[in-house]
């Protein structure tokens, strides 16, 4: 019994190449992102909307002084490759550019520019113009 033939191996290689191509193409598509303005506090605020548990876990491990994080505002948006999207969150203004390959360039107007790969599950945190607050950028489904 033949386990492998040249033809079968060739077809398998073509399939994987095709799959890799599709995956690469998908990775270079639009990025759907979410930017959140997070209020930071050491006192629990039951009336405020808490951040998602997966974000809270990450924030609690940062070397910050706060223990509680709440969502003040959030925006979900898509950015095409090599395109930019201006985002206003509270007193802060962002400009998010999709560099392709799940890499973004986040410009915090007045402060500076961050270039960072932002795959799913990765979170980018930076400061905000609002008091006791952070800006969180992540990729969403």
């Amino acid at each position: 019994m033949k386990l492998f033939t040249i033809n079968k191996l060739a077809y398998a290689a073509l399939f994987f190449l095709f799959f890799a191509g599709v995956t690469a193409h998908a990775a270079d598509g639009d990025l759907k992102l979410e930017a959140q303005l997070i209020l930071c506090s050491n006192a629990a605020q039951p009336k405020s909307r808490p951040v998602a548990p997966e974000i809270e876990q990450k924030l609690l491990r940062l070397p910050l002084k706060w223990q509680h994080y709440y969502v003040v505002n959030s925006q979900t948006f898509s950015v095409a490759k090599n395109e930019s999207k201006p985002v206003a969150l509270g007193k802060s203004a962002l400009d998010v550019k999709n560099l392709g390959g799940e890499k973004v360039e986040v410009t915090l107007v007045g402060f500076g520019k961050i270039t960072q790969s932002l795959t799913k599950g990765q979170v980018l945190v930076t400061g905000s113009n609002d008091d006791s607050s952070l800006i969180v950028v992540r990729q969403v489904n």
């Binding site: 915090l108 007045g110 500076g112 520019k113 961050i114 270039t115 960072q116 979170v123 006791s132 607050s133």
Partner: protein, 171 residues
């Protein structure tokens, strides 16, 4: 002598009669000369036939016997060669090349498992380390990254006391 009696004589000669009829035919032959003469004629004819048969059967010589075997072998040989013989190259093509391909894949997998991940981790770590540019005239940026948690914190600090907008202090 009628036809039935002639047939009975033939049957007697061929040994096909039962014992009782055989005895009756014997008695009849002793009494009837015509019947005895016919039986003698039948017997002669039979012997002549047997002798002619023996004469017609040709003796098979030793050479002819072996030539028959040789022809039979020649007749059967094409059937044996009809089944395709696997050449060395074909065997190599069937087993060696796939084995080499599988070995190459396995080797690539091993290399990917033992070597590439280290390099990849380094490359990914480098790629995930953010590039930060500050536009503050007298400020700087602090970067903290926890790769296992997948979180990056970039904190811009304006060192000018009046313009300081940093909302938090890093512990």
């Amino acid at each position: 002598m009628n036809q039935e009696q002639q047939l009975k004589l033939q049957a007697y000669l061929d040994g096909e009669l039962p014992e009782r009829e055989k005895r009756a035919v014997l008695l009849w032959l002793q009494e009837n000369e015509e019947a005895a003469a016919l039986l003698a004629e039948l017997r002669n004819t039979r012997q002549a036939t047997v002798k002619s048969k023996q004469h017609l059967s040709l003796p098979e010589s030793r050479e002819f016997f072996w030539s028959k075997i040789e022809r039979e072998i020649q007749r059967l040989e094409p059937e044996k060669t009809a089944t395709p013989e696997v050449s060395i190259f074909t065997a190599l093509r069937r087993w060696f090349f796939p084995a080499v391909a599988v070995s190459a894949l396995a080797l690539a997998g091993l290399i990917a498992h033992f070597n590439v991940p280290k390099a990849a981790v380094e490359i990914v770590a480098d790629a995930d380390t953010p590039t930060v540019e500050t536009t503050l005239a007298s400020g700087d940026a602090t970067t903290y990254r926890n790769a296992s948690d997948g979180i990056t914190l970039v904190w811009f600090s304006d060192n000018t006391p009046i313009k300081s907008k940093s909302p938090a202090t890093i512990n």
